[in-house]
Symmetry: C2
Subunit: 323 residues, 2 copies
């Protein structure tokens, strides 16, 4: 298998009435900062609050009735887990999400809220995969990988397809890179619909495995992620790296301080709630890691799931009385 | 003078290309809470981050060239001050904003950022009016009152006019009440475009002068406002109360705790930044102060200007070590 724009087109038809067509916002303030025209594709308004619903729903609704009846499964305590849970609920099939037993209560509650079964495992990659394999052996569930799955990538590509349809003549499209599913779908859509535009990926400096991989010409998998952008700590996949190598013009890196500043600026100026991962390509613009001078730039804002009690720009001042 | 829908129509034409046509958002979560279908008109995405730009711009662009040349003035340290400053800048005329000398630095900076002159006064109503009168005596500037001005009210009515055009068959429209400018324009638009719909105002329990006035059948002006909804601390005006008495079906009240809960829920579920005043009609729905069962309900979300360092749901836990 592989990914082509026909697969994205099929995903678009499949997602009609399931996924939201999210709005595109603009801001004179960001235009001035970037020196070009910036168009924000707001996937924070997508169902479950993130673009991940597109890929998960495309994968779930691509299954034959027979396969679907056995259910779907994944290991993810983040947006993909919630997205798969909701997609399965909408199709009326069971979903199992394998989650480390130290996952935050708020994430368990979200997955449970969409009616999925949670199976806990020890917080190691080995036990996670072992536990998922046990789930599959018992139920015959179809595993939906968060980014290596071709149907997932095709679903993620529908966001950029909508953006290119709504905003003609883009010169540049920016998206963050975690495992690489979003940028893979994005670059296939942009190549088909805005062939003159470049696609550039943005990574946190503390989780720059895709940047290193692109420079090395092979997957670098030994980066220990250390970044506030919790949605981008995954390692780029084999399938996704193949597409990135072919279609992505460049990858740039931004540090966590710039990510937090960009996130706050989006909240202040665009009046929308985005999570740190979404702010990574924004920071690439505001820090001029990407030259956008005079260009029409699309930015995929990936999601808006944050803990409103713990915002990253709030360092609590604690005054301890002397004595 | 008075306010009729023709004035709103003229304002719509005047504001074309000046004010944003803001999006309408929906959320299954809020539909379930309210028991109906809820349509949020997002004026937090308006220029200067609040609906106030509509009224201020309509007033500024209604002036003859001769009158406009002498400039405009107001006393407001809030959204109206910023809105008037930007409207004047866009018309290329001077604006003066009278502001108490204890106004937060962030508000001064915003008004200065739009190029207005600031004249400081003592933080009393008397000195505020005295200082504004002195500005007018010297410059001949046209005073744009934040809500008693008929052009301001007509401008505010364009938000509901857009909402009614985009969402047919509304049964109910909710808006907050401070001085009453927004609900006056709203009720005139709704009466013209959705004659079957009721308009209900929402007030903080700690600033319920319009609620008291409606029940007394005359303006009650001795309420000392005490509410987190800083945009709604003004006293309902004579002009606005006349319209409210005729066209508003009811006014309901919600307490500050409910306002903060509703504000947070909007951030979490709609992924947008709104200020406490915007959350007042939302709280009226979530607290069932208004019965929306089975109804199609429009809600004007008035603005999104908040201090991101001080969110009202954050009570800092300070652990002082024993000893």
């Amino acid at each position: 298998m592989n990914l082509d724009f026909d697969a994205v087109r099929r995903a678009q038809r499949r997602l009609e009435g399931l996924a939201r067509r999210t709005p595109v916002l603009t801001s004179a303030h960001f235009d001035a900062l970037a020196g070009g025209r910036v168009f924000f594709k707001c996937e924070n308004f997508q169902r479950v609050g993130a673009f991940k619903f597109r890929g998960a729903a495309n994968a779930v609704f691509s299954l034959s009735d027979t396969d679907a009846a056995r259910g779907v499964a994944t290991h993810s305590s983040g947006n993909h887990g919630q997205a798969l849970a909701l997609a399965a609920k909408l199709r009326g099939i069971p979903a199992t999400v394998v989650m480390p037993d130290n996952a935050p209560r708020i994430k368990r509650a979200a997955v449970e809220g969409y009616g999925a079964n949670i199976v806990f495992c020890a917080p190691t990659q080995a036990d996670r995969e072992h536990t998922l394999a046990a789930v599959v052996a018992k139920s015959g569930a179809h595993v939906v990988h968060p980014y290596e799955d071709w149907d997932v990538m095709a679903g993620q590509g529908t966001a950029a397809a909508e953006l290119c349809a709504e905003v003609p003549d883009l010169d540049l499209v920016l998206a963050p890179i975690g495992g690489g599913g979003l940028i893979s779908g994005t670059s296939v859509s942009v190549k088909a619909l805005a062939p003159g535009a470049r696609v550039i990926g943005a990574e946190p400096a503390g989780a720059d495995d895709a940047w290193r991989s692109l420079r090395a010409g092979r997957r670098v998998t030994d980066v220990k992620p250390d970044t506030i952008a919790d949605g981008l700590r995954a390692t780029v996949g084999e399938n996704t790296f193949g597409i990135i190598s072919r279609l992505v013009a460049d990858i740039v890196r931004v540090d966590d301080a710039a990510i937090v500043r960009a996130m706050r600026l989006v909240w202040e100026r665009l009046k929308i709630v985005i999570e740190p991962s979404s702010a990574v390509p924004v920071a690439a613009l505001t820090e001029h890691a990407v030259d956008a001078q005079g260009l029409r730039v699309g930015v995929i804002l990936t999601g808006g799931n944050v803990d409103l009690d713990r915002l990253p720009w709030q360092s609590v001042q604690i005054d301890i009385p002397p004595g």
